[in-house]
């Protein structure tokens, strides 16, 4: 099964290797252990968001609210840490808020039948607005807390965010491949009516999927705030596009019904290596945006040619 999925994503894997080779030729600092670990740490935030996005997109939906939600959960968590109690309270509040907003997305999409694109677009602005309101539009200055370990810590030389990314990768793969919930996620995207007639509680499953996406986004929000050592209400802009690009690069169909976490992981690394490589090469961020778009188009084209 896994072999087959990897084979289906052969195109993007090929693209990843090609980009990696080009980068190591262009910069001798690229293919070093410290840089590779650095890349893994840099991609972890997008990877965790993209894992949730993969599930959402397999059901045939989309979640545009993740970028703003990264900011909102981060700001809320840090504000909550100022309250009496422990730093742990802050994390619980941040993750809980992510899950609640995700669930709210799911409920509005599943039960009120608002198209996912519209609903999560609306949530994107609501979450961003809320983040600006609770922080007065100002970053919450540097703070010191053991909680920063989430973003900066290391275990046996491996950054904590990378470990979290691997755990969530494993969890998501397990959900998709080894649980009834996973079957239902593919079923809803593949043939929603058939799923309903098979007794799948379609609305409930959709709600759960958006909840997971919100929760994963909350985890990313915690990592990012920990990394920055501050809460920025304007952070996370465009994260939703990076996550969607990673999912699509990984061969998941935007029409729903097919896709895998392994593909998404490859997609995440393609984007991560591009960002990292361009920085090593001192490419201006403005050109980086253009180059990233062009590479994505070529990667997807290559994939389609190979699938033919």
């Amino acid at each position: 099964m896994r072999k087959r999925i990897l084979w289906k994503n052969y195109g993007s894997l090929f693209g990843l290797i090609a980009i990696g080779l080009v980068m190591s030729l262009l910069s001798d600092r690229f293919f070093t252990l410290s840089n590779l670990i650095n890349i893994a740490r840099q991609v972890s935030i997008n990877a965790i968001i993209a894992m949730g996005m993969t599930m959402v997109i397999i059901t045939g939906g989309i979640d545009l609210s993740v970028g703003s939600l990264v900011a909102l959960t981060g700001c809320t968590a840090i504000l909550a840490m100022r309250l009496p109690g422990s730093d742990l309270t802050g994390i619980i509040v941040g993750l809980g808020l992510g899950a609640i907003i995700g669930l709210l997305n799911g409920l509005l999409i599943a039960y009120a039948q608002i198209p996912p694109f519209i609903e999560t677009l609306a949530m994107l602005t609501i979450a961003r607005g809320t983040a600006l309101v609770i922080t007065n539009g100002q970053p919450i200055v540097r703070f010191e807390s053991p909680y920063r370990w989430l973003g900066e810590g290391m275990i046996a030389g491996v950054p904590v965010p990378v470990i979290l990314m691997l755990l969530i990768l494993g969890l998501t793969h397990f959900i998709l491949s080894h649980t009834p919930l996973g079957s239902y996620i593919y079923a809803i995207g593949g043939n929603e009516e058939a799923a309903r007639l098979s007794g799948v509680k379609v609305n409930r499953i959709k709600s759960i999927v958006y909840l997971i996406s919100g929760l994963y986004t909350g985890i990313s929000g915690m990592i990012l705030a920990g990394r920055l050592g501050s809460a920025q209400p304007n952070t996370g802009e465009g994260f939703e596009l990076d996550a969607i690009a990673a999912v699509v690069l990984g061969g998941t169909s935007l029409m729903g019904g097919r896709g895998s976490v392994w593909g998404t992981l490859i997609g995440v690394f393609i984007i991560g290596i591009l960002n990292n490589g361009f920085n090593l090469l001192n490419v201006s961020p403005f050109y980086q945006l253009i180059a990233k778009g062009v590479v994505i188009i070529f990667a997807v084209l290559l994939d389609q040619i190979l699938k033919r």
């Binding site: 079923a187 098979s198 097919r258």
Partner: protein, 499 residues
């Protein structure tokens, strides 16, 4: 315990179902005996699908009672229906393409071979294999459904039904997409189910099949139950008479036209000694073969939808290589595809738009579309083909299968094409509408149009074709004259893959 056992496993009494403007079911009584195979027939719109949907919980009856083993039950949603042991296999197969066979079979009831939260993959695959083996199928439970053939998918659906310990299995046109040999496999599967005590409702337009497989037959007409009879006591002629409410003197009104010039010749570059396919004006050429023999691929290649490089095409004596349907249409080639809902029509658009899509460029004068002319052309086709519609602005979605098929045909007639490819033009439509399609075919060849007819209904193919080619493995392996050839001869050739 068994003393109270009622005569019928399931009885539906006085079922009424209204749709806006139509009474789909009018106090219908329907009784199923324990362990029988019960055929359900009727023209399209007679109410068969509505009846099945009420049983499966997809629709609710407006009034009437349903009794299971003598006890009244209510079926309000698909879950309740399934809990009562009723399972449906729909016409449009309802499997999930990118899940493997085992996960499809146990979709929605995974807990039976694992838990509610975790799949036991190994046990699931073992159970799935066991179920499939009962139908002599050694499908790998780990293969993706998207990679299976239609017949294999159907076996998966049946295995799925069996895995749910179903008491009553409703099958809606299960044989429609299958070739003759695959139908035999299906029948074996159905007989296996019967031996296990499953009661089966079998809906089909192929009456010969009903005569072969069913114990009793119920006939619906215009939302009313006309009659239920033992299969042995009724013949096909009588079923047809009861279905349509009138006599149809012959099923296939074949008329021969004058054969004209050579329209199309297809030869295979790679294969030596292969028979070239030739179609002349005024001729119906049939294409027989199993599903997967390459008939649709050949048709789509001629039409430029999926060009096959290994074929050489010549049209009216000139070598052509259509790379897109648009090019093929310019040569004068039209195609009525296999799947009218997915490929033949744009369901949300109006009948007017559907009928005139291929010729919009001719109606466009550079600034606007000539709406008046467009309506004239569409109306002419509606009149000529006797398409039953309320207005040209009606959505194609709302038409019955037969009328939809006529719209697809009409779109090409309006375009005045020379060669028309008909891929399974009568699949899933009722006898009355089939008869009309045959007449349209007659009219077309009389006008000098050449027709390539693909059909899995051999009787139809033999009766309506002037010549028949048999395909196997992407190649044409034999040619027979139409009309006179015995069904067995062609069947033999198809199933052996050689003449």
């Amino acid at each position: 315990m068994e003393t109270q056992k009622s005569e019928y496993l399931l009885s539906m009494r006085g079922i009424v179902k209204d749709f806006p403007g139509v009474r789909a079911l009018d106090s219908v009584d329907f009784n199923l005996r324990h362990g029988e195979i019960h055929g359900l027939v009727g023209e399209n719109g007679a109410g068969k699908s509505t009846l099945l949907k009420i049983l499966s919980g997809a629709l609710r009856a407006d009034s009437g009672d349903i009794l299971l083993e003598g006890n009244p039950v209510s079926i309000n949603n698909p879950r309740q229906s399934r809990e009562l042991g009723i399972v449906v296999i729909y016409q449009e197969l309802s499997l999930i393409p990118y899940l493997d066979v085992a996960r499809n079979i146990f979709l929605g009831h995974e807990a039976e071979v694992g838990s509610h939260f975790v799949l036991h993959r190994q046990k699931m695959c073992q159970e799935a294999s066991k179920l499939l083996k009962e139908f002599c199928s050694d499908l790998d439970p780990q293969s993706l459904v998207a990679e299976l053939s239609v017949a294999e998918k159907q076996l998966v659906e049946i295995a799925r039904a069996l895995s749910q310990q179903s008491k009553i299995l409703l099958m809606d046109e299960p044989s429609a997409p299958l070739s003759e040999r695959e139908v035999e496999q299906l029948f074996n599967a159905i007989r296996t189910l019967k031996k296990q005590g499953v009661t089966i409702v079998y809906v089909s337009h192929r009456l010969e099949e009903l005569a072969k497989i069913t114990d009793r037959i119920s006939i619906l007409r215009d939302g009313r139950m006309v009659e239920t009879r033992d299969t042995q006591s009724i013949d096909i002629e009588e079923i047809i008479r009861l279905m349509v409410g009138r006599e149809i003197s012959e099923h296939y009104p074949k008329e021969h036209a004058i054969r004209g010039e050579r329209l199309l010749e297809v030869s295979n570059i790679a294969e030596h000694g292969e028979i070239p396919l030739q179609i002349n004006a005024g001729e119906v050429v049939g294409l027989a073969g199993l599903v997967g023999a390459g008939r649709t691929e050949l048709a789509r290649s001629i039409f430029g939808a999926n060009p096959l490089r290994r074929q050489r095409l010549s049209f009216l004596g000139k070598s052509i290589q259509p790379n897109s349907p648009a090019e093929a249409i310019n040569y004068g080639i039209g195609m009525v595809p296999e799947d009218r809902k997915e490929q033949g029509l744009i369901l949300q658009m109006t009948i007017l738009d559907n009928l005139t899509i291929p010729m919009l460029s001719e109606l466009f004068n550079g600034l606007s579309i000539n709406r008046h002319r467009q309506r004239e052309i569409a109306q002419a086709q509606v009149d000529q083909l006797k398409i039953h519609i309320t207005s040209l602005e009606q959505q194609a979605l709302l038409l019955s299968g037969g009328n939809q098929q006529k719209v697809v045909l009409g779109k090409w007639l309006a375009k005045n094409c020379r060669l028309l490819i008909l891929d399974e033009p009568t699949r899933g439509i009722d006898i009355g509408a089939k008869f009309e399609i045959y007449k349209i075919i007659n009219d077309l060849v009389k006008k000098g149009i050449g027709i390539l007819l693909i059909s899995s209904d051999l009787q139809e193919l033999i009766a309506m074709s002037d010549r028949i080619y048999v395909m196997s493995d992407g190649c044409i392996i034999a040619e027979y004259p139409g009309g006179s050839t015995e069904q067995e001869t062609i069947l033999n050739c198809i199933s052996r893959g050689e003449k």
